[in-house]
């Protein structure tokens, strides 16, 4: 790449567009054309009614050829409208597209001003772009080949959906999940709203599809170590933790569990049940195999204990398994690392997690679940009694900027209604109290679903917050308020279920760090634009799916996952990726290696050294490093400091007055 310092002799053509009346009504296009054509370096100038039209484009192309133009300024609408159009026309006329610039004299002049001052301003704007073009260099878009594999981080419902969609589109997927099984939180649910489908029944077919898909390589019990590279060419390091069980041999007989002397709280059952050191999180786990948890095992050593391997008839257990580090190349990454619930321990007013019969939504799901620790009978953790009076507290930790989290967790109103209905179904003579602030039921059939709960005569919806929850004897006292009657409410509950706020999972924080992804102040992954680019991270080639990006329900997570998959496929399917060439560039003859530029770059595109080095494919052309460089060694191609100083002077120079139109 040639150094971009200094201006060069040019033959510039200026084309002023009337844009019908949009420009011509307030800008004297003839005077503007005359003034701009008189500018140093301009050899040709004309104006036209609609330059973006076919005839207009033809005029442009013919002029480039006939007058041997080396640069073009089109004074017209905003470059966001037609820069691509006009640059394509220039290329068709064999003029390097980067030697064509748009002077925005419509949105920034003709539409916002009236009077002769408008023409004056249009001329000045045109002049600045003439000066810019004088300093532009012909550039070629950077082309880069890329991997056509996709990495999906997180094997919950969003990760599963994204992996299936990318694989079905014909591309290989690496699905990395840190638990021994994919499925995520959805497997812990009993039924899903509003259909009350059995959660595992609708989930497991997708899990099985993942297991058997020829293009999905499932890396369970694995974590992302590090990521380097850039869009299309990511190099990822994945740590596969040893399960000590060969999944191809394990036949799920379960004899190992009977033999194992260790019992620890089950993560899947949220501590409501126990598991052995060797375990399967739930029967439908994928991969379909047991896992030996090194942390709770007595020693992984026959001298300490080898009871499980001795009873294993198929010799699936291997204490000598080692951790493996995989280095893989992928072209696109989907982050679907999911959420967790805000811990009960943070709720000082609700017992700090010390009251056994104050539980959160997932724990209640396990109690409701037919395959759960109580076989689907709703029994309270402390003494196993069936609760007759149950209190549901919505917005626990959510919508509370002073003490907890400011955001709304979106799904709690719905699942609380679900919980209340399922409770009533299970305990016919039970009474449920739901303390709410609002009821948010915006999805399809959601309002109708909530109304079912509200209309149940033994489900009482009380609008008010709960101030305090505490143990009294074998009851849990709930002090709340009913703002619609203005009365304080006290319930002596058998069981209290807190709808804890949704927060991003720990895995989300890890992925964000590894990928240098921006997060909101609460840690949800930040999308490139909340309205128009909700699935893309700011880092090129990284896409977001599921609750890691923000609280959402299952249909939204699935939809987002499919969308992210398409975005990923857009990269994987492209024959070559192109990247703008208008990037930062170091003049090695001037760079002293001071490295002041290095921390300016949000993309980590600059490496320090004897002279700084810019990775052109990571550079997004913001120019922050250029402005920071004290010695003037760093420049931005086609937007150098010299060009801008020229533009400034031309914007302020006097315009020779001609006859007013």
């Amino acid at each position: 790449m040639p150094s971009t310092r200094g201006a060069r002799a040019t033959r510039i053509g200026v084309f002023v567009c009337h844009c019908g009346k949009n420009i011509a009504a307030t800008v004297d296009v003839e005077r503007a054309t005359e003034a701009l054509t008189a500018q140093d370096g301009v050899v040709y100038g004309t104006h036209h009614e609609y330059l973006c039209s076919d005839p207009g484009q033809e005029i442009l192309k013919r002029a480039i050829r006939d007058h041997h133009l080396t640069g073009v300024v089109v004074a017209a609408c905003s470059p966001s409208m037609h820069e691509v159009t006009f640059r394509r026309a220039a290329a068709a006329a064999d003029l390097n597209p980067y030697l064509l610039e748009i002077a925005n004299i419509r949105e920034q002049a003709s539409w916002v001003h009236r009077g002769p001052g408008t023409t004056d301003k249009a001329i000045r704007i045109g002049r600045t772009m003439i000066e810019k073009v004088k300093g532009n260099h012909p550039l070629e878009a950077l082309e880069v080949s890329h991997s056509s594999r996709c990495l999906v981080i997180g094997g919950g419902i969003a990760g599963i959906q994204a992996a299936l969609d990318v694989a079905d589109a014909g591309f290989e997927v690496l699905l990395v999940e840190k638990q021994p099984s994919i499925a995520g939180h959805m497997a812990q649910l009993s039924e899903t709203f509003p259909t009350l489908d059995c959660s595992q029944c609708i989930l497991t077919p997708k899990m099985v599809e993942v297991a058997h898909h020829p293009r999905i390589r499932l890396l369970a019990y694995s974590e992302l170590e590090s990521v380097s590279g850039y869009i299309g060419n990511y190099r990822v390091r994945i740590r596969r933790k040893p399960t000590y069980v060969d999944p191809d041999k394990c036949n799920l007989c379960g004899d190992c569990v009977q033999a194992c002397p260790v019992r620890v709280p089950s993560e899947f059952e949220l501590g409501l049940a126990e598991r052995a050191a060797i375990y399967i999180p739930f029967p439908q786990a994928v991969p379909s195999s047991y896992t030996l948890d090194e942390a709770s095992c007595l020693g992984l050593n026959p001298l300490r204990c080898d009871k499980c391997s001795r009873v294993c008839e198929v010799n699936a257990i291997d204490y000598d398994m080692r951790e493996e580090i995989l280095e893989e190349e992928v072209g696109a990454i989907v982050v679907a690392t999911g959420f967790d619930l805000y811990p009960k321990e943070a709720m000082a007013e609700y017992g700090r997690g010390t009251i056994p019969d104050v539980i959160d939504g997932f724990e209640f799901e396990r109690l409701l679940s037919a395959s759960g620790p109580t076989r689907g009978e709703v029994r309270r953790p402390s003494d196993g009694r069936v609760p007759r009076e149950i209190v549901f507290i919505q917005c626990s930790g959510s919508r509370d900027p002073e003490l907890h989290l400011p955001h709304c967790s979106k799904i709690c109103c719905m699942y609380t209604a679900k919980h209340a209905l399922l409770y009533r179904h299970a305990v016919h003579d039970g009474t449920a109290y739901v303390f709410y602030i609002d009821v948010r039921a915006g999805g399809k059939d959601y309002e109708e679903f909530v109304n079912r709960a509200m209309e149940d005569e033994r489900i009482l919806y009380l609008r008010g917050k709960v101030a305090k929850v505490f143990q009294q004897g074998d009851k849990v006292m709930v002090w709340g308020v009913d703002t619609l009657t203005g009365r304080r409410v006290e319930v002596a509950a058998d069981l209290v279920v807190l709808a804890q706020a949704m927060v991003p999972s720990d895995g989300t924080a890890d992925a964000a760090r590894a990928l240098r992804l921006a997060c909101s102040s609460e840690g949800f992954l930040k999308e490139a634009h909340p309205k128009l680019r909700p699935l893309e991270a700011l880092t090129g080639g990284v896409f977001l799916a599921g609750a890691a990006q923000g609280p959402k329900d299952i249909p939204e997570a699935v939809a987002q996952a499919s969308g992210a998959a398409v975005k990923a496929v857009g990269i994987l399917a492209a024959p070559m990726l192109t990247h703008s060439p208008e990037v930062a560039e170091v003049d090695e003859a001037l760079c002293s290696g001071c490295a002041i530029c290095v921390p300016q770059c949000p993309y980590g595109a600059i490496t320090p050294g004897t002279t700084a080095r810019v990775n052109e494919l990571l550079c997004e052309s913001c120019g922050t490093c250029v402005a920071a460089c004290p010695s003037g060694a760093m420049t931005l191609r086609n937007m150098s400091g010299t060009q801008v100083l020229s533009m400034i002077r031309s914007a302020l120079a006097e315009i020779p007055q001609t006859v007013e139109a």
Binding site: D587, A589, S592, C594, P630, S631, G632
Partner: protein
């Protein structure tokens, strides 16, 4: 023999002394030159200078800032009589430290030193031409008055660069006109200090700390303007534990060195995670930078702010209407 003249205008004398730093090499130089005019060294008079023909001097080195009308007359005469004229030292190059006087008006300066209403006048009973020379309204660099062929920058110029000039001038193998005898790259290239994460989390003045001898001074909060300053001095000051103050002038593409360094400093300032929550502490830190003008423009104020410094004619009056 190369006919040599050395002159000083608003100078401290350091540039003249600096020739001695050439060491024994000075003898080689002296053997090849004939000193025709050098007030610090020989007793030639102005009349001798004026009697010389045009281009009668092969090489003239002028050091010092141009501050008085007499300075202007002298350098114009020297320019006329010299084949090559060199800005020698930071004062001639950019105005130098005396250039900081431009921060107050000439009238205020004279009033401060000599009392209100002071006007230069001849001694009692003396002729009008015996009056002291008038000050220019502002100090200016040499190139503002006469065409300059080369520059040897520095305060004073380091001996290596003086040597480079004499090598070129005495051998006749001269670089293109306008050349500055110093490196094109900034000082950081020759500085032995290590740079790690470039972050400024505090500003301290050199006398306030004992700096770590290995680490970059800027990273330690001591404002070193090395990154914007030409090398060629072997980073003498940072090697000695003091920050570079910019005496060799800016690198060729830096533009205004004060503004370039300002941008770098502001870019590096960090008080934790960037974000709205950090604005107040960042501003506090930025405001803690002591003497920004003296730090950023120590030698170069006249070169980059010739007409807008406080108190100069044309500068807008202060809000209360006063001129400082």
């Amino acid at each position: 023999m190369v006919k040599l003249a050395v002159y000083w205008t608003g100078a401290c004398g350091g540039c003249d002394v600096s020739f001695l730093e050439l060491g024994p090499a000075l003898l080689d130089v002296l053997a090849k030159v004939e000193v025709v005019f050098w007030p610090a060294l020989v007793d030639a008079k102005v009349e001798d200078l004026e009697a010389l023909p045009r281009n009668g001097i092969d090489l003239t080195l002028v050091n010092g800032t141009v501050r008085t009308e007499h300075n202007v007359e002298m350098v114009r005469t020297l320019r006329d009589r010299s084949r090559l004229l060199v800005s020698f030292g930071a004062c001639a190059h950019m105005g130098g430290v005396p250039g900081l006087a431009n921060l107050i008006s000439r009238e205020a300066l004279l009033a401060e030193v000599y009392g209100a209403g002071f006007r230069p006048r001849p001694p009692a009973g003396g002729a009008p031409e015996d009056a002291p020379t008038a000050l220019l309204p502002a100090a200016v660099p040499l190139s503002a008055v006469v065409a300059v062929d080369y520059t040897v920058p520095g305060c004073p110029p380091p001996p290596a660069l003086i040597g480079d000039l004499f090598d070129a001038a005495l051998s006749g193998d001269l670089p293109p006109r306008g050349h500055v005898f110093a490196h094109e790259k900034a000082l950081c290239e020759e500085c032995p200090r290590t740079r790690e994460e470039r972050v400024i989390s505090r500003f301290v003045r050199p006398h306030e700390v004992l700096p770590d001898p290995e680490r970059c001074l800027l990273d330690q909060g001591i404002v070193c303007v090395g990154p914007v300053t030409r090398g060629g001095c072997e980073a003498a000051c940072p090697r000695a534990g003091m920050p570079c103050t910019g005496c060799l002038g800016p690198t060729p593409n830096a533009g205004d060195p004060g503004l370039a360094m300002l941008s770098a400093l502001a870019s590096l300032v960090r008080t934790g995670e960037e974000g709205e929550a950090a604005f107040a502490t960042e501003d506090e830190l930025l405001d803690a930078l002591a003497d920004p003008l003296g730090t950023l423009y120590r030698y170069s104020l006249p070169a980059y702010w010739p007409g807008a410094a406080v108190g100069r004619p044309g500068a807008p009056p202060r809000r209360d209407g006063s001129q400082p």
